[in-house]
Amino acid sequence: MANTTTLPPAGASAPGDERVGRRSPVQKFLARPEVGALVGAVVLFIFFASVSQTFTQPNALATVLYGSSTIGIMAVGVSLLMIGGEFDLSTGVAVISSALTASLFSWNFSLNAWVGVTLALVVSLGIGFINGWILVKTKLPSFIVTLATFLMLTGLNLALTRLIGGSVSSPSISKLDGFESARAVFASSVSIGGVEVKITVFFWIILVAVASWILLRTRVGNWIFAVGGDANAARAVGVPVTKTKIGLFMAVGFCGWILGMHNLFAFDAVQSGEGVGNEFLYIIAAVIGGCLLTGGYGSAVGGAIGAFIFGMANKGIVYAQWNPDWFKFFLGLMLLLATIVNLIVKRRAELK
């Protein structure tokens, strides 16, 4: 350990040790994982607010928040998983799998839409469970395991949709019982001061709050940090590493289910080929938000800020009336800058 030599020995540290400076509250704040992302978000907000008149209008902000929430809901689960030391490449298509399960099952058997919704939840949690179970049993890297799941789900989505519905798009389920009530739950809008805010924004906020509480204030949160930081040390002190990892994959599945249901009930059908590539957006949001790719460090709020940055850039380019072709370029640049800023901020704060 390199710091063995640089830090004072245990016995020598008397009260009021002059070699140990007090860390000011500002430095403590700067050491939080999401600070880099917060700085980035503020800069980006000021930037778009100055180049576009419409960007700061309440309606535009509601649109930005909606765009952010569709990434952010998944980023919550993905952030937790990343803190737990794993990542999931199958999330993008798993969202669509969930939506397809709900629509195809209830359409095929002409059931109440809620039956499909419930089955979709079981399937989403099941995909997460299988990912986690294979991972802990085989001890393969999560990259390989979830890449395999990603490919299999992509194929299943296309093949089963055509087999059951006869088309690349799932059949419309708007005539089914329970469709309206499910739409009210998963895809309605709430009017706040005359501004229509999509319900996913509230799902997003609730999920971030619950995830933060779990991470910072429960035993399970302690275990998540521990299995990501050092799984062997965690196992040695009695942390149920296997259960924690499988649980994290299932939490990602749960987030995927919420987003999948929104995608389905926002319209009445789903394209079976959708979702490919979205998994990277979720991972990008988590990384911009200060989650360490190697695990053991990060926060749920960070992932939310990452998603908000994504939403701002996505819609901001439109409001600034630029060519949206540039979006991916900016996204890549932002990812690089945010990660570098995170790294610098973290090193500085920890040295002081």
């Binding site: 063995t4 245990a10 016995g11 009260p15 204030r217 521990a226 009695g238």
Partner: protein, 308 residues
Amino acid sequence: MNAQQIDQQTLLKNEKDPLTHTPVHLLSLEGVGKHYGNIIALRDVTMAVDNGRVTCVLGDNGAGKSTLIKIIAGLHQHDEGTLQVMGDARKFNSPRDALDAGIATVYQDLAVVPLMPIWRNFFLGSELTSGFGPFKSMDVQKMKDITLKELAEMGIDLRDVDQPIGQLSGGERQCVAIARAVYFGAKVLILDEPTAALGVKQSGVVLRYILQARDRGLGVIFITHNPHHAFPVGDRFLLLKRGKSIGYYDKKDITLDELTAQMAGGAELAELAHELEQLGGHSDALEEVKAEVAGVADAAPESATKRH
């Protein structure tokens, strides 16, 4: 801390000396063996651990020390012999089993999760909670207070239990792990080479904590390859070599020189002397090794007769 002081403490505690008065040992191993496939990692190891006593396990790299502690800590299961806790034969299926039986292990390299704050590490796996059902949350303030207090009792004065434990020195990290084990009511404390990566001064600090744990009535298993660290704190010494026990001594039956000689192994040194002679040109080194061989030869027969 020298040998004389320990002898005095042994005498003072004589009234409730578990070596003579307790019918069962806190932990005892009888002919324990372990093989991985066709490789025999450990065979026929017999040792005992008692309250307020330090049992040292000595051996060079590959002697089977880590296999032995992995069996006691519940990471591996033994294939032969018996492992008894308070007289009951046990076989641990997981580290959790061993912890529940009061056996805590402090590992040299994986004692803590470096990125996590000290208090989170201290309570990892045994967090304090309050509230009911799904709303059960950690009692953060209480956990921080206890961490600060327990570490202060171990003589570690910390400014901030919120800092990542990776920022502490190697010795301090070992001490946090020891304090954690003591706090959670461990009856047996296994220390896996706690001084291996430390400097002279830090090793001294860790040895002091071993004695503190012992004085609190814990049975300590101290694993090391350094007889100079083992001898001052140990009450019993188990020597391992190539997976076998080559000696098991009480402190009164052995001296530091004999222990060192047993560890070094007279035969190997003689072989080295022979090799150096054949190569030629290393006259200084040869003299030294020959002197060592003579020293070992003097000490070895004497100690061999005291084998248990």
